[in-house]
C-alpha cells in the first residue's frame, strides 16, 4: 500500500512537470504576447526589447526551467496583461469557480437523482421515456448556445434573473461568496444550470441504469419476499446501493466541471478562473495560462489519485497487476 502511494505520488509529480513542459512548448504557437502589451505606435526595437525582458527569446527549456524553478518557491510570475502576481489573481477568482461548480453539481443531483430513480423504477412508463428524451435535448445543443438562449429568455425577455457576473459578493476571510445576497442568487442560477445540464443528464442516466440493475438482484427480491414495503425497498435499499458508484463518478466529474466551465463562465461573464484563462489565451498571457494549466493538472491528479486509491481499497480485482508483479 505504502509503496503504491509513493509510486503514484512520484508519477503525479512527473505528470505535473509534463503538463508544465507541454504548456511551454505550446506558448510559442498561440500568438505574440508583446503585440498585446504595446500600442500601435511602439517601435519594433522597443518591442524587441520588451520581448527580451520577458525572456521570450530564451529557448523553451530555459523558459520552462525558469517557470518550474520559480513555481517551486511559490512564485508564479506577474501577469503580462494585468501586472499582478498570478497566484493572487487565481486565488481571487477560485471561489467564484468553486461556488459555481458545486452549485451546478447540486442542481444536477437535485434534478438528476429523482428523475433517475423514477425512470429506473418505471422504465416502461411514457413519462420516463419523456424524461429521457427531454434530458437528451438539453445536451444536444452547444453550451454557449444554451447559455445565450437562457439569457435571452430569463434575463432579457422576462427580466427575472441577472444576465452576467456574480452579483453582490461578501468577503469571508479569503473567500468571497455571492450566496448571501439576492443579486448573488439571481446571478448563479442560470450559469449553474447551464453548467450542470450535462451532468444532470449524466447522473439521471447513471442512476437509472444502476437502479434497474439493483432491482433485479437477489438482494431486492429477498427484501420483497420478506414483505418490506416498496417505498422502503426503493429508497432504503435500492437507491442506497446505487449511490456508491454514482458518488465516485460525480466526484470525478466535479473535476472536469471546474476545469471546463470556461464556456459557461465566458457566456455569463462569471468572474472565475475559466474566464481568466480564456482572456489569457486571447492576449497570450503566458504566466496566467501556465499557472492555470498547472492548477487544473493538480486537481485532476488529486482526484485520479483518490479514485485509484479507493478502487485499490475496495476492489481487489483492480489490484491484479500488483499481484502479478509480485508473483
Amino acid at each position: 500500500m505504502a509503496s503504491f502511494i509513493l509510486r503514484r505520488l512520484i508519477q503525479s509529480g512527473i505528470v505535473l512537470l509534463a503538463v508544465a513542459m507541454i504548456a511551454f512548448l505550446m506558448f510559442r504557437f498561440i500568438g505574440d504576447p508583446v503585440s498585446q502589451m504595446v500600442g500601435q505606435e511602439t517601435t519594433l526595437a522597443e518591442r524587441a526589447e520588451l520581448r527580451e525582458k520577458l525572456g521570450l527569446n530564451d529557448p523553451v527549456p530555459v523558459q520552462f526551467l525558469r517557470f518550474v524553478g520559480r513555481a517551486a518557491t511559490g512564485n508564479f510570475g506577474i501577469s503580462y496583461q494585468m501586472g499582478q502576481p498570478v497566484d493572487r489573481l487565481l486565488a481571487e477568482r477560485l471561489p467564484a469557480t468553486l461556488e459555481l461548480s458545486v452549485f451546478a453539481m447540486i442542481i444536477a443531483c437535485l434534478i438528476g437523482v429523482p428523475l433517475g430513480v423514477y425512470t429506473g423504477l418505471h422504465p416502461k412508463r411514457w413519462l420516463s421515456r419523456l424524461f429521457l428524451v427531454v434530458s437528451l435535448i438539453g445536451i444536444s445543443l452547444p453550451t454557449f448556445f444554451t447559455g445565450i438562449m437562457l439569457i435571452l429568455v430569463f434575463g432579457v425577455e422576462l427580466g427575472l434573473l441577472s444576465t452576467f457576473g456574480r452579483g453582490e459578493t461578501t468577503q469571508i476571510g479569503w473567500w468571497t461568496t455571492g450566496l448571501l445576497s439576492v443579486s448573488g442568487w439571481k446571478s448563479i442560477i442560470m450559469p449553474a444550470f447551464t453548467l450542470g445540464l450535462f451532468q444532470m443528464t449524466f447522473i439521471m442516466r447513471l442512476i437509472r441504469s444502476e437502479m434497474m440493475e439493483v432491482m433485479r438482484t437477489d438482494f431486492i427480491k429477498f427484501a420483497r419476499a420478506r414483505g418490506i414495503s416498496e417505498g422502503k425497498i426503493n429508497f432504503g435499499h435500492a437507491l442506497r446501493n446505487t449511490l456508491v458508484p454514482v458518488m465516485t463518478i460525480v466526484g470525478m466529474q466535479l473535476g472536469s466541471i471546474i476545469a471546463f466551465g470556461i464556456i459557461t463562465e465566458s457566456v455569463f461573464q462569471w468572474p472565475g478562473v475559466g474566464l481568466l484563462f480564456l482572456q489569457a489565451i486571447s492576449t497570450a498571457d503566458i504566466p496566467i495560462m501556465s499557472t492555470y494549466l498547472l492548477l487544473v493538472a493538480v486537481l485532476f491528479v488529486a482526484i485520479n489519485l483518490t479514485v485509484d486509491l479507493l478502487y485499490y481499497v475496495i476492489d481487489p480485482r483492480l489490484r491484479a497487476d500488483n499481484v502479478a508483479r509480485g508473483a
Binding site: 509510486r7 508519477q11 512527473i14 505528470v15 509534463a18 503538463v19 507541454i22 512548448l25 505550446m26 510559442r28 504557437f29 498561440i30 421515456r129 429521457l132 428524451v133 437528451l136 435535448i137 445536451i139 444536444s140 445543443l141 452547444p142 453550451t143 454557449f144 448556445f145 445565450i148 438562449m149 435571452l152 432579457v156 441504469s209 434497474m212 440493475e213 472536469s256 476545469a259 471546463f260 470556461i262 464556456i263 480564456l278 489565451i281 486571447s282 495560462m289 494549466l293 487544473v296 493538472a297 485532476f300 491528479v301 485520479n304 480485482r317 483492480l318 491484479a320 497487476d321 502479478a324 508483479r325
Partner: protein, 309 residues
C-alpha cells in the same frame, strides 16, 4: 441486421434481442430514420443543394439577410433565407452538416483507435506500461480542447508549407477533438480489460501459451467492444458539439466554407436582432442530429451494456 455474421465482433448485436428492442421502440426507429436522412442528404449535398455555398462567385452580397421563403420578404429561391453574406442558408446547412459529420466521424474513429490500443495495453500488461499510459491520459485530460487546438494549429502552421495551410483548419479540429476524447475510451477499455483478463477463458489461453497480442485482439477486444461502441456513439454527438464550441472560441472551420458549428457561431450574432433564422435553422439541424445520434446511443447501450442484460 448482422444476424448471419460469423465474426466475433459485437456478439450482442447478433442475438435477436437487439433487433427486437429496436423494433419495439418507435423513438429509436424515428431517430434512426432522422439520422440516416440527415447523414445521407449531407453526404449528397453537392447533388441536392440548390446553391453552391462554397463558390464565392455565386454569392451576391445584395442577397444578404433575406428571410425564409414563407416570410413576407422571402424569396422562393432561398427556402430558408440567406445569411449576412448572401449565402443560401439551406445549402450552407447541407454542406455544413457534411463537414460536421466528417469531423465527428473521423475524430471519434481516431479516438477509438487510439483509446483501444492504449487501453488494451494498459489493462492487459499492467505495471510500468499501465502507469505510463494512464499518466499520459492524466496529462491529456488537463488540457482543454481549445489549448490542444491552438497547439496543433500553431505547430502544423510552422511545419507545413504555406500552400497546405488551407485545409489545415479541418485537420486541426479533428485532431484536437480526438485528442480530447481518447482518454475516456482508454480508461473504459482499460477497466474492462482488467476485468476480462482474469476470466477463465483468458487465463486458459495464457496457460496454453498464446502470445499476448493474440489474446488481446482475439479474446479481450470483442468483449470490450460493447462499452466502446456506446462511448463512441455518445462522443460522436460530443464531437459535433465540440466543433461548434471550438468555433465559438475562435478556432473553427473558416467562415468561407462553414461547418454547422461555424454557421451557429456566425448566426449567434443575430440572436438579438430580427434575423434569427440565421442561427435558428443551423441550431435546429445540429440539435436534431445530435439528438438522433444520442437516442441511437441509448438503444445501443440498452442492447450492449452487460449491466442491463
Amino acid at each position: 441486421m448482422t444476424s448471419n455474421s460469423t465474426g466475433r465482433f459485437l456478439p450482442a448485436l447478433r442475438d435477436s434481442d437487439a433487433w427486437h428492442k429496436f423494433k419495439g421502440s418507435p423513438l429509436t426507429i424515428g431517430a434512426a430514420i432522422i439520422a440516416l436522412l440527415m447523414i445521407s442528404s449531407a453526404l449528397l449535398s453537392p447533388l441536392i443543394a440548390p446553391h453552391d455555398p462554397f463558390d464565392p462567385r455565386a454569392i451576391d452580397l445584395m442577397n444578404s439577410l433575406i428571410p425564409p421563403a414563407w416570410h413576407e420578404d422571402g424569396q422562393s429561391s432561398f427556402l430558408l433565407g440567406t445569411d449576412d453574406q448572401g449565402r443560401d442558408l439551406l445549402s450552407a446547412i447541407l454542406y455544413g452538416t457534411r463537414t460536421s459529420i466528417i469531423v465527428g466521424f473521423v475524430s471519434v474513429g481516431a479516438a477509438v483507435l487510439l483509446g483501444l490500443v492504449a487501453g488494451l495495453l494498459a489493462g492487459y500488461l499492467g505495471g510500468f506500461i499501465d502507469g505510463f499510459i494512464m499518466r499520459v491520459v492524466d496529462i491529456q485530460m488537463t488540457f482543454p480542447s481549445i489549448m490542444v487546438a491552438l497547439l496543433i494549429d500553431g505547430i502544423s502552421r510552422s511545419l507545413l508549407p504555406r500552400e497546405q495551410h488551407d485545409q489545415l483548419a479541418l485537420v486541426v479540429i479533428i485532431l484536437a477533438l480526438s485528442l480530447s476524447i481518447w482518454p475516456q475510451v482508454a480508461r473504459t477499455v482499460r477497466a474492462s480489460t482488467m476485468v476480462e483478463k482474469n476470466r477463465e477463458y483468458v487465463q486458459a489461453a495464457r496457460v496454453i501459451g498464446r502470445p499476448a497480442g493474440i489474446i488481446m485482439v482475439k479474446h479481450i477486444l470483442p468483449n470490450v467492444m460493447g462499452p466502446v461502441l456506446v462511448i463512441a456513439t455518445i462522443n460522436f454527438g460530443v464531437a459535433i458539439l465540440g466543433e461548434a464550441t471550438l468555433s465559438f472560441l475562435g478556432v473553427g472551420i473558416p467562415a468561407s466554407e462553414p461547418s454547422l458549428g461555424t454557421l451557429i457561431r456566425i448566426g449567434n450574432n443575430f440572436l438579438f436582432s430580427g434575423e434569427r433564422w440565421i442561427v435558428l435553422y443551423p441550431g435546429l439541424t445540429l440539435a436534431l442530429l445530435v439528438l438522433a445520434i444520442n437516442l441511437l446511443g441509448d438503444w445501443l447501450r440498452d442492447v450492449l451494456d452487460p449491466k442491463l442484460r
